[in-house]
Amino acid sequence: MLPRNGLVSNEVFEPTIIGFTCNWCSYRAADLAGTARIKYPPNIRLIRLMCSGRLDPTFVLKALANGADGVLITGCHPGECHYIEQNYKALRRFQLLRRTLAGFGLEPQRLKLVWASAAEGAKFAAEVASFTEEIRALGPLQWGKARSAQTEAWEEALTEGMEVAA
C-alpha cells in the first residue's frame, strides 16, 4: 500500500490553517490571547476582515486551492455584530459553502465557523488548538497536488500490480 500524498509514516503532519477573523470580535480575541500569553498552535495564519460578513466564499476556495488543510472563520456572536446583522450573512454563506464543498469531496470538518467575542481570548486559543488537532487527524488536503505525486506513484504501482498473462 503506497503512502498517501508522499508522506512517510514517522513524519508528523503539521496542518496549514487559514483563519479569517473579524476585526471587532475575534481578531481582538486573538490579540487578547497573545497579550495574555495564552498559547495556541502556530499552524494558523490569521487574515483580518473588518467583519465576518466580508467573507467572500472565494477567499475560502483560494485558501484551499493554495494549500490550506483547513479554514477557520470567526465572527461576533449572533446579535453582537459590530455592523448589526452581517454575521448572519456569514452564517448562511458558510452553511451553503460547506454543503457545496461536500460535493467536491471535502470533509465538512475542514471548514469551521466559530463565534468569539473580544473578551474570549482563551476560548479563541482553545478553538484554534482543537481545530488544529481535528485537521491533523484528517490528514493533509494538498488540493490539486495529489495528482502529480499520485500519477508517478500510480505508474510505478501499475508495473507492480500487473497480472502476468501468457
Partner: protein, 330 residues
C-alpha cells in the same frame, strides 16, 4: 488576386453545438466564405490532421477552438492549432471553462469507465475495458488516453480571446464575424489580447425582463413542483436561477421562456470564482438566521456543487473534486 486569410474551426471534447451555432448565422456564412479560406473544419470539410500538420506555423489567421481538453488527442490538437494560428479563440463554454463534461471532474475518471462499461444493458462479463494501445492480428491500434481531469483550453495553451456561451448565441457570433471583417478591412481594431468577446459586461439579471423585488425566500422551489409567475424574478420565487453571477449577452432567453438560468455564459465580468459568487447570491436571499432553519431551507437545494459549478467546474479555482486528484492505484 489576393489570397484570402485562412480560417479554421475545431472541436475537442465537445458536442457540436458551437458548430451549429456558427451555421445558424444563416446568410452570414456567405460573408465568412467571401472573406476567408476555410482550411480546416472537420464537421464541414475534409481536411485531415496530416493536412493541418503540413501547414506553415502561424499561417491560419483565425481559429475558433471549441470543446474541452479531455484526452491527449485534444491536448495535441490544442498545441498544434496554437502553433498554426495567429489568433486562437476559446470558443464556447467547453473551451473556456469546461462546460457540462467538466462535471466529470467531481469523480475519479476511472469510475466513469467502470460505469459506462457495466451498465444494465452492457454485456461485459469478462470486464473488458478500452485500451490506449491494442494489438489486433494485423498490427497495433491506438485510441487517445483520457487525462485524469478535464481542462480548459487556456490551461494548456495561450489563448488570445474568450467567447463564452453554451453555445455562443448566433447573433453574438454574427457580431464578432462583422468585427473581424472590419479589422481585415482596416476599419476597426482588435480588442486587447485576452478579452472576452461576443458577450456583455453585466449579468443575465440585467437582460431579464422579469420584475425584481427584495428577495427573501423561505424555501427553494423545484421548477416542476409549482406553477411560477412568468413576470416575477425566478430566484425570488425560490427557483434556483444562476442569473446573478452569469455573464450577460444571451438576452436572458431561458428566463424569458420560463426556465431558470443554468449559467451557460460563464462568470460575469470581474468574477474570480463563479460558484463562490453564486454561494453568496443564494445565501443572501435566504430568510433565516438560525442554523437549523437555514439547514432546512438549504435541504431544498439537493445538489449545490452541480447547481453552482454546472458549466464552470474545470475553470473554477478548485478545478476538480478530490476523487479526481486523489486516485489510489488500482
Amino acid at each position: 488576386m489576393t489570397t484570402k486569410p485562412k480560417f479554421a474551426m475545431y472541436w475537442a471534447a465537445s458536442c457540436g453545438g458551437c458548430e451549429i451555432a456558427v451555421l445558424n448565422i444563416h446568410e452570414k456564412i456567405l460573408d465568412v466564405d467571401a472573406n476567408f479560406e476555410v482550411v480546416f473544419w472537420p464537421v464541414a470539410m475534409d481536411a485531415k490532421y496530416h493536412d493541418l500538420e503540413a501547414m506553415e506555423d502561424g499561417s491560419i489567421l483565425l481559429t475558433l477552438f471549441n470543446g474541452g481538453i479531455r484526452n491527449d488527442e485534444n491536448e495535441r490538437m490544442a498545441k498544434l492549432l496554437r502553433r498554426k494560428s495567429k489568433i486562437l479563440v476559446a470558443f464556447g463554454s467547453c473551451a473556456n471553462e469546461g462546460c457540462i463534461p467538466g462535471l466529470a471532474n467531481l469523480r475519479d475518471s476511472r469510475d466513469i469507465v467502470r460505469t459506462a462499461f457495466n451498465t444494465v444493458s452492457t454485456d461485459n462479463v469478462s470486464h473488458v475495458y478500452p485500451m490506449h494501445s491494442y494489438d489486433v492480428p494485423e498490427g497495433e491500434i491506438h485510441i487517445p488516453k483520457i487525462l485524469p481531469i478535464l481542462q480548459t483550453l487556456d490551461q494548456v495553451v495561450e489563448v488570445d480571446y474568450h467567447m463564452p456561451g453554451c453555445p455562443p448565441e448566433s447573433d453574438q457570433i454574427a457580431g464578432v464575424i462583422d468585427l473581424v471583417i472590419q479589422v481585415l478591412q482596416g476599419k476597426a481594431e482588435l480588442p486587447p489580447k485576452g478579452a472576452v468577446i461576443g458577450a456583455g459586461n453585466s449579468t443575465v439579471c440585467d437582460e431579464c425582463a422579469r420584475t425584481r423585488n427584495v428577495k427573501s425566500i423561505e424555501s427553494f422551489t423545484r421548477i416542476w413542483s409549482a406553477a411560477t409567475d412568468p413576470a416575477l424574478c425566478l430566484l425570488e420565487q425560490g427557483v434556483p436561477c444562476n442569473g446573478p453571477a452569469t455573464r450577460s449577452g444571451c438576452k436572458a432567453r431561458c428566463p424569458s421562456a420560463g426556465a431558470q438560468c443554468i449559467g451557460c455564459y460563464g462568470p460575469a465580468e470581474g468574477v474570480l470564482d463563479y460558484g463562490a459568487r453564486l454561494v453568496s447570491s443564494f445565501a443572501s436571499v435566504i430568510n433565516a438566521s438560525d442554523p437549523e432553519t437555514i439547514d432546512r431551507i438549504l435541504d431544498g437545494l439537493p445538489d449545490p456543487a452541480g447547481q453552482f459549478y454546472r458549466f464552470n467546474l474545470a475553470g473554477s479555482l478548485l478545478r476538480a473534486g478530490r476523487p479526481a486528484w486523489e486516485r489510489e492505484p488500482a
